[in-house]
């Protein structure tokens, strides 16, 4: 289907950005060590792309990276006080 250009390019069926899987831009990939993760959610606060699903202490669930949108900037790994996130080369 052809996308019609609206006046001023306003997009009414938001959020269309979800369809843009920016994870493909990644060269380095964050990998979480669930044993080391203390579920503090500092990484979740710092992630500029909202690509971290927060940890849940009650359910004993560690944070999870959403690789569909994570661009691999490494801020989470740099901020993690427990070194629970390591950046590794993306291999496809």
């Amino acid at each position: 289907m052809v996308t019609k250009i609206t006046k001023g390019c306003v997009i009414y069926n938001s959020p269309t950005s979800l369809g843009n899987k920016t994870g493909g831009w990644r060269t380095m990939k964050p990998v979480v060590d669930e044993e080391k993760c203390k579920k503090c959610n500092i990484c979740w606060q710092f992630c500029p792309d909202s690509s971290i699903e927060p940890a849940d202490r009650k359910a004993n669930k560690a944070i999870k990276i959403n690789y569909d949108y994570c661009k691999g900037c490494g801020i989470c790994a740099a901020e993690c006080p427990f070194k629970a996130i390591t950046m590794v080369m993306e291999e496809k």
Binding site: K7, C9, I11, S14, T16
Partner: protein, 395 residues
């Protein structure tokens, strides 16, 4: 209606007040400063109870705030001049691309360097490619009227384009003139509240504005915007006609003054046309024919009207109060290009006048007329561009 003696820039502020904008973000710059001064005064004195005046830290921020405000569906206007308009440059394109009906008063002024605060039209003419509608007034009354009409045109559902209104710095902005100020009720009827449909902020209807367009979309967005600017023409005519019906003052995209069958016809923009009309009156009193086409709407470029008005002209003296350095007069080049494929077309001669507030005198027009007439007699234009009243001893 009441009659007031005000300076041109205040007349623009009066129009801004009558339009009852929701948001006025502005940064002061000579010679437009009276506009934000008066608007902030109206807000502070409670005369505009529903207007928010935003004193921003730069003109770039003024236009950015105007874009944001307009994108929420608010009626928005601002004012600037010269370097201020240049600082807005990138945001002007964004305002047009997002189809936001922002109204801007530009006090036409020269650009630095060297620093010069006086009148010429370089600032807004340099922004002709941004996708804005351009109106130019000849006096304070026209400035006020065009400013009111700018809101109506910009916000029309068939248009939705930002619109700037230029009046020449100092010669108009700082000269006191009698101005007819329309009644608020009459303006309210002419200019109903802006109700945005294409772009407004509403959490119940999330939208993306200012989106990203990769190569497979971008050209269509430009095509659509170009079509929008071109097709605003009939709406402008309609608004001018409605304004005349309500307020009695007639406007058109171009004004023809003088003899319709004149062989030598001037083309110019802005306040210099007032002086030129005086010269034409004197000249016609001597029994010689001469005409003037004054451009009021510069974007969309009034091709049809200009071609009709210049149908009988043998030579057109285009008097530009700005210059595209390394080429020549902007109005000259556009006007000449508009005729380039016509078998029958007049000669065109380019004149540069009044840059940086250089006085424009009756005698200057005498010299222009004589130069154009000599070329007409010779059957060819022998000089590409003529700088009027320039002191070559200083060079």
């Amino acid at each position: 209606m009441s009659r007031k003696i005000v300076k041109g820039a205040e007349a623009m502020a009066i129009a801004g007040k009558l339009a009852k904008p929701d948001v006025v973000p502005a940064f002061p710059i000579t010679p437009s400063t009276t506009f934000p001064e008066k608007m902030s005064e109206y807000v502070a004195c409670g005369e505009l109870p529903n207007t928010e005046f935003v004193p921003v830290e730069s003109e770039h921020s003024a236009m950015s705030a105007a874009i944001a405000a307009s994108a929420t569906g608010a009626r928005t206007c601002t004012a600037t001049s010269s370097q201020g308009l240049a600082l807005m440059h990138e945001m002007l394109f964004i305002a047009a691309g997002m189809r936001l009906p922002i109204v801007l008063f530009d006090a036409n002024r020269a650009l630095s360097a060297p620093l010069n605060i006086w009148g010429d039209q370089q600032d807004s003419i340099s922004e002709r490619d941004a996708g804005w509608i351009h109106f130019y007034g000849e006096n304070a009354q026209e400035g006020l009227d065009l400013m009111l009409m700018a809101f109506r045109v910009a916000e029309d559902k068939r248009v939705l384009l930002p619109t700037m209104v230029g009046i020449d710095g100092f010669v108009l902005t700082h000269t006191s003139e009698p101005v007819d100020v329309p009644e608020q009720k009459a303006v309210d009827d002419f200019l109903p509240q802006y109700k945005a449909e294409h772009c407004y902020l509403d959490p119940e209807r999330p939208t993306t504005v200012g989106a990203f367009a990769p190569p497979e979309y971008y050209m269509e967005t430009r095509y659509q915007l170009d079509e929008a600017v071109h097709s605003s023409g009939p709406v402008i005519d309609e608004v001018f006609a409605d304004f005349e019906k309500r307020f009695g003052r007639k406007y058109s995209k171009i004004e023809y003054y003088g003899d319709r069958d004149a062989e030598v016809v001037f083309v110019a923009i802005g306040s210099l046309c007032g002086t030129l009309k005086d010269w034409i009156d004197e000249h016609r009193a001597k029994g010689q024919k001469v005409g003037l086409v004054r451009i009021i709407v510069y974007r969309p470029f009034p091709f049809k009207e200009l071609k009709a008005a210049l149908a009988n002209a043998k030579i057109v003296a285009v008097v530009d109060r700005s210059i595209s350095l390394g080429y020549g007069g902007p109005v000259f080049s556009e006007l000449a290009a508009a005729f380039v494929n016509d078998a029958k077309r007049p000669l065109f001669k380019s004149f540069i006048i009044g840059l940086g507030g250089r006085d424009i005198k009756l005698n200057d027009f005498e010299n222009i007329y004589n130069a154009a007439s000599a070329d007409l007699k010779a059957g060819k234009v022998n000089e590409k561009m003529h700088w009027v009243n320039i002191n070559k001893e200083m060079l």
